[in-house]
């Protein structure tokens, strides 16, 4: 049986700086940085597939290009070159989404994507109510009925264990874990087929981490949403991801089933990463 991927990424490149004659062929680089002209090659030739209903993990040390790649996919940053195709109905799978107009990109963000940032400040409006934050995404997706939006928001907040008597409170009054759960509720509000999670549990204490991870796992099971989970925490990846990609200095150095990568790492860096797991 051959299954078509939901999201195809091909040869994604992201560089900061113009490059020079010495680093054109990606040679003479110091990690991902050209000592001559100062250009940083944050993502080099990234290609992968995301299938419906799966969780894809992305691991790598700080500065390996994980977050930059996420930002490119979510259109927070412009790609230097490369393509991404989303299979959302007939004809859509042939269109490189990086070449769409900014209005069309916004449409994809509002209708097909959900994003949970590492820092809730980026994903939430801290001085608007929690229910308003969720409604914002619904409004952006074209909803114009207050009572329906309120109902949807209530259900979502209940789902992520935010007590309803606090739903009109602003997220800035909430603890970090609660803020993160509001952010997840917001990202889920328009039932996106693709959800991006960028270091969602980093900085949360262990019990809250477990809570958030449980929640993500349940969402995947119940709603069948495809997710890309970026983390430098292998435990998180082990728990969530079906398949995993390992990144180093802006390139993919290894990919495969999560178990396989954790049990039998091939690349020297992956081996080091796995063995340094406490």
């Amino acid at each position: 049986m051959h299954e078509e991927p939901l999201l195809k990424v091909r040869n994604l490149q992201k560089q900061f700086g113009d490059g020079c004659s010495r680093c054109k062929e990606r040679q003479n680089l110091e990690k991902n940085y050209c000592p001559n002209c100062g250009t940083v090659y944050a993502c080099q030739d990234i290609s992968f597939d995301l299938f419906a209903g799966e969780i894809l993990g992305i691991v790598g040390e700080s500065g390996s290009g994980k977050s930059t790649m996420m930002q490119c996919l979510y259109f927070d940053a412009e790609v230097t070159s490369g393509a991404a195709y989303i299979d959302a109905g007939p004809g859509s799978a042939e269109q490189n989404v990086f070449e769409l107009s900014s209005q069309q990109k916004r449409y994809i963000r509002n209708h097909q994507y959900g994003m949970v940032y590492q820092n809730p400040v980026h994903g939430l409006k801290m001085n608007f109510s929690s229910v308003g934050n969720i409604a914002e995404k619904l409004i952006a997706a074209g909803k114009r009925n207050v009572s329906e939006m309120e109902e949807t928001s209530k259900n979502l907040l209940q789902n992520v264990h935010i007590p309803l008597f606090r739903m009109k409170e602003e997220p800035r009054n909430f603890s970090g874990g609660m803020q993160q759960r509001v952010q997840i509720a917001k990202a889920l509000s328009n039932n996106p087929p693709i959800l991006f999670l960028d270091e969602v549990t980093t900085g949360l204490d262990l019990s809250v981490q477990a809570n958030v991870l449980d929640l993500i796992k349940r969402i995947q099971r119940e709603l069948g949403i495809s997710m890309i989970v970026v983390s430098h925490d292998l435990a998180v990846i082990r728990m969530l991801a079906d398949r995993t990609i390992v990144m180093l200095n802006g390139s993919i150095i290894e990919e495969g089933l999560t178990d396989q990568i954790l049990e039998d790492p091939q690349h020297a860096y992956t081996q080091q990463l796995v063995y340094s797991l406490l």
Binding site: Q103, F128, I139, R144
Partner: protein, 288 residues
């Protein structure tokens, strides 16, 4: 020695630049056109945007009316009128029907405007999304991408907090089905007057350096949710204690002598006209 100033205070270069901004604003209804706001003899935030528009469009034969929150005789309206008259010599009026240019702060007159008239509104904050997004760079992108979820979100928050949309003034509007615009702090009562207005409406924000416009016969729709429709302030059962008018925007005042709440026309020239009319009738009937 008294030097002779330019007609309408500005040098011709300034007028040209502002007129160009106005033309662009009229061509793109609701779009905020940046312009080089001049230093004026009144402080920014006191109507410099409106004043600059008035001075660049006014001609010798124009007839000017200036209102401040409905009143013809408040200090701000009077000093603007004086400045324009001393530099142009135009005729000043209080009767809305007689004016060719009406500069106004926070109100649209009660008397319907005609195609021969120009309404100039003073704007403190031209950006309807400013309270959701601080960065001007980002709001510009939001406008270009037609993403107005922020403007809706503000209304949604009001409904969550107060059970209804609670904009006291400056309720955002969709202009020509494209741009969301701050109609300047006019009461919601005046929003419907923007829709298919026969007079051209020019809005100027001097401090924020923006000019925008609603050309005649343009669709202007107040933002509202399906289950929370737009509504104007209601004055049912109340009337002006001076002229008895009912279907107008009323100010709520407290009578210092009796401590009672009384209502009074906000539009002073309309009120005086009503009073004059009833007096005429009185004179006629009592002499007959």
């Amino acid at each position: 020695m008294k030097t002779k100033s330019h007609f309408a205070f500005f040098d011709e270069g300034s007028k040209k630049e502002i007129r160009r901004a106005i033309l662009k604003a009229v061509a793109i209804p609701g779009y905020q056109v940046p312009f080089a706001s001049r230093e004026m003899p009144i402080a920014r935030g006191w109507g410099t945007g409106g004043l600059q528009i008035t001075l660049s469009i006014i001609g010798k034969n124009d007839v000017l009316k200036v209102i401040d929150q409905g009143a013809d005789e408040s200090v701000n309206a009077v000093s603007i009128k004086k400045l324009v008259q001393s530099t142009t010599g135009v005729e000043l009026v209080e009767r809305t029907q007689e004016a060719s240019i009406i500069q106004s702060r926070h109100r649209i007159p009660e008397v319907p405007l005609t195609p021969e008239q120009i309404l100039v509104l003073q704007v403190p904050e031209p950006e309807p999304l400013r309270r959701v997004e601080k960065s001007a760079y980002k709001t510009k992108i939001l406008h270009s991408e037609n993403d107005y979820s922020g403007a809706w979100l503000m209304l949604f928050e009001q409904i969550m907090k107060y059970g209804r949309t609670a904009t006291g003034a400056d309720h955002p509007v969709y202009v020509n089905n494209r741009y969301v615009m701050a109609p300047s702090p006019i009461p919601r009562y005046d929003n419907p007057k923007l829709h298919q207005s026969e007079a051209i409406i020019l809005l100027g924000a001097g401090r924020e350096k923006k000019i925008y416009a609603v050309p005649p016969y343009t669709d202007v729709e107040s933002l509202a949710f399906d289950d929370y429709p737009f509504s104007v302030e209601s004055f049912t059962g109340k009337s002006c204690h001076l002229c008895g008018a009912e279907d107008v925007f009323l100010d709520e005042l407290v009578d210092p002598a009796t401590n009672e709440t009384i209502y009074q026309c906000n539009d002073t020239s309309y009120c005086i006209e009503q009073l004059n009319k009833s007096e005429e009738v009185e004179v006629e009937t009592s002499h007959a």
